[in-house]
């Protein structure tokens, strides 16, 4: 079943099609395919109603052993384990109750393995090539970096997967994004994906599974690939993925849930066949030359409203642009590098892995956060936090005047007390600059971790290459 080469004489298949075909439990004319789910990730915010639905219908979780829960969206990132508000506490208690009742493993606050759901899956080695992974969160596409088919679902679908371990899905189209060349110094995976979305806009990926490929993708670490795949949803794609290779395998080797011994060898044999066939056809292809990319910064209220940091706030081309400029309080023609900021957030499932923290620390080492700026680092997981502390990165951040927090989603979406005040402007390594996303009236500029670090020390958006 899990052998991925296409039969001789048959048309070549894309990576996404191979993953899809290997998980079809049932197919019937006029119906969506019934796909099997290898791993279901659960968190406190989008699951309570799903568990309640199960309880009311007398159903139980079919495969608690293929389900993993953590607390991330609501958790406090300072001041101990107690959430600030009653509703958050209740939501987390309910997740714990539901997991206990259904036998689902849970990494709750205080656990050594707690963290953002899309950070802990990979670091535990649970996210592996060839799998179908779902979660009630749109950034589930992150796991596609391992050559998995991974996508976000709604709460009703969470209930369906809890009950049946399956999901009816209509076949989707295939897109290829080929990133050739070599990334210049100071330009990161985040800039690849921001540059891409700047070109495509925020809906071109709709109805498609995307494969990222080409030499610049191959050269990325797993952390970088996760950053790219993470933001697939920001241009509308259902999922994004990268074919696994030696980078993937060496990341996975020895992780707690990775196969061991003979099983590792068997897994490798299967994983090595996981790539698009030479003659596979895509419904569309987008090509990007990485060697011409610059650090990118968003200026508007969606991730497609983005420009190179050397650029200026553009003239509005639509009502959406006009609204965005009003909300962001920006004038066309302003140099992006002149925009003063109040806050810096280094965190989120997009950019809070160890490599991200290293890249940010590299920029701030020996420097200090600008006196007008309040800056914080929120590691993606408790393990990332520990690893960073083992390397002494926490000392670098703290010496520079950053707040060093505990793991969680934090100010990416501001469900805990980490929010912007109205009018505050934030350099953020997260994924969404929607109105009010980081706090009602707050203004978000998305950028890479080194760019956010550079903004922290200079007090304004700045081309990080000037500091390297």
């Amino acid at each position: 079943m899990l052998s991925f080469p296409s039969p001789p004489g048959k048309a070549g298949r894309t990576l996404a099609q191979k993953l899809w075909d290997a998980h079809v439990v049932r197919t019937a004319p006029g119906e969506p395919d019934l796909l099997y789910v290898d791993l279901h990730l659960v968190h406190e915010v989008t699951s309570p109603q799903a568990f309640e639905g199960l309880r009311l219908s007398g159903r139980h979780v079919r495969r608690p052993d293929l389900t993993l829960a953590t607390m991330d969206h609501n958790v406090p990132t300072q001041g101990g384990l107690r959430a600030a508000d009653e509703l958050s506490r209740r939501q987390m208690e309910l997740l714990a109750e539901n997991c206990r009742r259904e036998g689902i493993p849970l990494y709750q606050i205080g656990s050594r393995r707690q963290g953002i759901v899309h950070v802990i899956g990979p670091e535990l080695g649970l996210t592996q090539p060839g799998m179908v992974i779902v979660c009630g969160d749109s950034h589930t596409s992150t796991h596609g970096a391992f050559g998995a088919l991974a996508f976000g679902i709604g709460t009703s679908e969470v209930e369906l997967v809890l009950a049946t371990q399956c999901l009816p899905q209509k076949r989707l189209g295939d897109l290829a994004v080929t990133v050739s060349g070599e990334l210049p110094l100071g330009v990161t995976a985040k800039d690849i994906v921001l540059g891409l979305i700047g070109r495509t806009g925020i809906s071109q990926g709709q109805g498609h599974l995307v494969e990222y490929r080409g030499s610049a993708i191959r050269a990325l670490s797993m952390e970088g690939r996760m950053t790219v795949c993470n933001m697939s949803i920001e241009w509308g794609a259902k999922a994004g993925m990268v074919a696994p290779d030696d980078t993937t395998f060496s990341y996975l080797h020895g992780r707690p849930s990775a196969p061991k011994g003979a099983a590792w060898e068997a897994a490798l044999d299967s994983w090595r066949s996981l790539s698009s066939d030479e003659d596979a056809s895509f419904d569309g292809e987008i090509s990007i030359d990485a060697s011409h990319l610059e650090p990118h910064v968003t200026w508007g209220t969606n991730p497609g409203q983005v420009a190179p940091v050397t650029g200026r706030v553009p003239e509005p081309r639509s009502e959406t642009d006009e609204r965005a400029l009003r909300y962001m309080d920006l004038r066309p023609g302003t140099a992006l590098a002149d925009i003063a900021i109040d806050r810096v957030f280094i965190g989120s499932c997009t950019n809070a892995r160890i490599e991200d923290l290293r890249a940010a620390a590299h920029v701030i080492a020996g420097r200090h956060v600008h006196p007008k700026v309040r800056a914080m680092v929120v590691p993606g997981s408790t393990s990332v936090k520990r690893a960073a502390e083992d390397e002494g990165l926490d000392l670098v951040f703290k010496a520079a005047g950053f707040e060093w927090r505990s793991a969680g989603c934090s100010m990416c979406l501001g469900m805990n007390p980490d929010i912007l005040a109205p009018g505050e402007r934030c350099a953020s390594t997260s994924n969404r600059n929607f109105e009010g996303r980081q706090g009602s009236g707050g203004r978000t500029h998305l950028m890479s971790p080194p760019m956010a670090a550079a903004a922290a020390v200079t007090g304004h958006v700045v081309d990080v290459r000037e500091l390297l």
Partner: protein, 195 residues
């Protein structure tokens, strides 16, 4: 789920593209553990700003939301269709919807219908001229109609059957339990399980 076949009523126009689910229902309301009661918080920040189109008296009680392209982009929160439904919208018409939002609408019993930009514009013009104009979104005939016009729409056939029949999708999948079991017995042993 209650069967859904057609929605008739007045329209409310939200003439904006790329409306994301963070706007539809901001995060602070995602801490609730119920499926209902989100209506008062729909478009919370936009309504707090005053003069928001949905709060205009002439659109009170509208059951069909007419809006721009890529509606419902961003977060997967099903609270978005819950809030729209709870507020009183039973159908939404737009040139396109984000994938996860659309799937969530099907599960919520909210009729999310795609029409070409030109036809959506016509509906916006109609309601701007006369907020009392009536429209019917008919899932059986797959058409949006009103006085002097009828627009055919495409709709996912499986989702249509589920909505028209008020079917419990979990029960539908459970019919195939034997096939699911057979699939499970073929899975590779080295695939990870959570300890």
């Amino acid at each position: 789920m209650e069967p859904v076949s057609r929605v008739s009523g007045r329209m409310a126009p939200l003439d904006r593209a790329d409306v994301d689910t963070d706007q539809i229902i901001p995060k602070q309301f995602l801490k609730r553990i119920e499926r209902t009661g989100y209506g008062p918080f729909l478009f919370f920040d936009w309504r707090a700003g005053g003069d928001f189109v949905l709060d205009k008296p002439e659109h009170a009680g509208a059951s069909v939301l007419v809006t721009g392209t890529n509606f419902g982009c961003g977060s997967s929160r099903e609270h978005a269709p819950w809030a729209l439904h709870d507020f009183g919208f039973k159908a939404i018409i737009a040139p396109s919807f984000a994938d996860i939002f659309l799937a969530n609408c099907y599960k919520t019993g909210l009729l999310a219908v795609t029409l070409p930009e030109r036809q959506v514009r016509h509906l916006m013009d109609l309601v701007s001229e006369d907020p009392t104009v009536q429209v019917t979104v008919d899932l059986v005939k797959q058409e949006v109609r009103g006085e002097g016009f009828s627009y055919r729409f495409e709709f996912d056939s499986f989702a249509r059957d589920c909505l028209l029949g008020g079917l419990d999708e979990i029960a539908l999948v459970e019919r195939h339990t034997a096939e699911i079991g057979a699939f499970e017995s073929r899975r590779q042993e080295w695939l990870p399980a959570v300890k």
